[in-house]
């Protein structure tokens, strides 16, 4: 069973010349981190907001954990899905603890359980509960507000999280740190995450798979590595094409670029990669050791291999002119 499944979903806003979302079919596996990427107006946010029924599709069906989301009450659906938006989404008149407690209170959890949950979540997002419980959002920095937003979305322990450009209004340094923390959290929690951004590097760094959208349609749905190495068309190529290939490689995790393998464990001093290493680190290891292929080791077992040739394919791709001849 898929965690989220879109079947032929379209959304036509009244008075708009074309549908915001145009016949989208795709599915997201449980525990998968999927990023919706595209320029503004491409329909990524509309697609996201149809999952918790902030928008209703004009046609098509959306299934969450196998169930049509139109069955059952809309508030129950929403209470079961974590929702994070840009930093303005915190309730400014509620303290940090009250903000986090909103959904548990709606679900009528006992007070003691809510208190405990608030402390657990604050610790999880790196804000010492004693210091932050009683503060108001106005007393927090942007990065801290977003941590509270994340804790609030996690409060009732939903399986699915929807994140709408959560780091969009945050300075670059804090954003990078929050991205790292989100990945750490995801490794512990294994949520199914649907994450909207227009920031290519953010998408490459966070996603297990990226959905690239243009004019309401899905152009490509693949791993960050495959999107870099095998862009579906010129639009994708232009979108992900940064000039600095090394910088780009540094955003892609080995885990999303390896081919699965179950080789025997290499000897202690042999060069090896970790799934959380990035491809830039992998490339430097290739160059240092002269190897053509490196094992990826997680804990005490080999989980896959990365080939130098596949990274080179990307670099060569970049060297060739991308402009295709156009018919007049």
């Amino acid at each position: 069973m898929k965690a989220i499944e879109f079947r032929g979903v379209s959304k036509q806003f009244e008075g708009a010349p074309r549908p915001a979302v145009d016949n989208v079919s795709l599915s997201v596996d449980g525990g998968e981190f999927v990023v919706l990427l595209g320029p503004s107006g491409c329909g990524k946010t509309t697609l996201l907001k149809m999952v918790n029924r902030l928008y209703e599709p004009t046609s098509g069906t959306i299934l969450v954990e196998g169930r049509d989301i139109r069955e059952g009450s809309v508030t129950d659906l929403r209470r079961g899905i974590g929702y994070v938006i840009q930093q303005t989404g915190l309730f400014p008149h509620m303290t940090v603890a009250q903000n986090i407690a909103v959904v548990p209170r709606l679900l009528k959890w006992p007070a003691a359980k809510i208190d405990e949950r608030v402390d657990t979540l604050l610790a999880l997002v790196g804000l010492p509960p004693q210091e932050y419980r009683a503060r108001y959002p106005a007393q927090l920095s942007g990065g801290q507000q977003q941590r509270v937003g994340l804790a609030r979305a996690l409060a009732a322990d939903p399986h699915i999280m929807l994140m709408d450009e959560p780091f969009g209004a945050i300075d670059a340094i804090t954003r990078t740190r929050l991205q790292g923390e989100l990945l750490d959290l995801q490794r512990q929690l294994h949520k199914t995450i649907l994450f909207v951004t227009h920031d290519v590097e953010e998408a490459l760094r966070l996603a297990d798979r990226i959905v690239i959208m243009r004019a309401g349609q899905v152009v490509q749905y693949d791993t960050p590595f495959n999107i870099l190495t095998q862009p579906a068309d010129d639009f994708v190529r232009d979108l992900v094409d940064a000039h600095d290939i090394l910088r780009q490689l540094s955003q892609v995790r080995v885990a999303t670029a390896m081919t699965p393998a179950a080789d025997p464990l290499p000897p202690d001093d042999a060069p090896l990669l970790h799934p959380d290493d990035d491809l830039r680190e992998a490339l430097s290891l290739f160059l240092r050791t002269g190897a053509n292929s490196l094992p990826v080791v997680d804990g005490d077992r080999v989980v896959g291999r990365v080939e130098l040739a596949s990274i080179r394919a990307r670099a060569e791709d970049n060297r060739t002119p991308t402009a295709s001849p156009k018919m007049p």
Binding site: L54, F91, P92, L106, A138
Partner: protein, 207 residues
């Protein structure tokens, strides 16, 4: 100032009447203004008809409004309460509308997205966020009613205005001064208390 010290019981009784009139008028005014304000806040098309009409009522001189209401309702408490309630609707409704409309749409969407029903969103998010502005309206309405209620004496509704009437009729400035002093202290005191409430309701803003 001798009237106040010589007849404290009479002044206290009139003060009690005055406070009862103020409380009842304010209570009815709020019961009316909240549903009306919430409705108008959600429907922009009601702006001109509702707030416009209330604005016109607000500009009618209070004595004229009272005189107008005596015809159908006679003398006594009823026309006075009606006049007071009508008079402050403009301030109350306008502030409720402005307060609710001022809530950031992103916050409303967060509330909806998290699974608050529209009543829960109103009670737990929108009204608390609008509270400082709404309370500013309540403060203004309270002080207005307090002052305006003195005209109740003209139509035999009681209250501290009785001291003004008698003072004028008997050419007794002492009575007028006593009434004015009590009203002034009351108005300033209530205004201050409500100002504190207002600040408390907006304590999250400054941080």
């Amino acid at each position: 100032m001798t009237y106040l010290t010589r007849y404290p019981d009479r002044v206290l009784e009139l003060l009690r009447q005055h406070l009862v009139i103020t409380a009842i008028a304010l209570g009815i005014a709020l019961l009316l203004a909240f549903p009306l304000g919430i409705l108008v806040a959600r429907r922009r098309s009601l702006d001109v008809p509702v707030v416009g009409v209330l604005g016109v009522i607000y500009t009618i001189p209070s004595l004229a409004l009272l005189a107008f209401l005596i015809q159908p309702f006679g003398l006594g408490l009823r026309p006075l309460l009606l006049a007071l309630v009508l008079y402050v609707q403009f301030v109350l409704v306008r502030n409720i509308v402005v307060g609710l409309r001022g809530v950031d749409p992103a916050i409303l969407e967060a509330a909806r997205g998290m699974g608050l029903s529209s009543m829960q969103s109103l009670a737990q998010v929108e009204l608390p966020l609008a509270a400082p502005i709404i309370l500013a309206g309540v403060r203004l309405a309270t002080v207005t009613i307090l002052g305006l209620a003195t005209i109740g004496a003209w139509i035999a509704a009681g209250g501290l205005g009785v001291l003004f009437n008698e003072g004028i009729a008997q050419d007794n400035p002492d009575k007028i001064q006593a009434g004015a002093l009590v009203i002034a202290v009351l108005a300033i005191g209530l205004n201050q208390v409500l100002l504190w409430v207002e600040r408390w309701a907006g304590r999250w803003r400054t941080g």
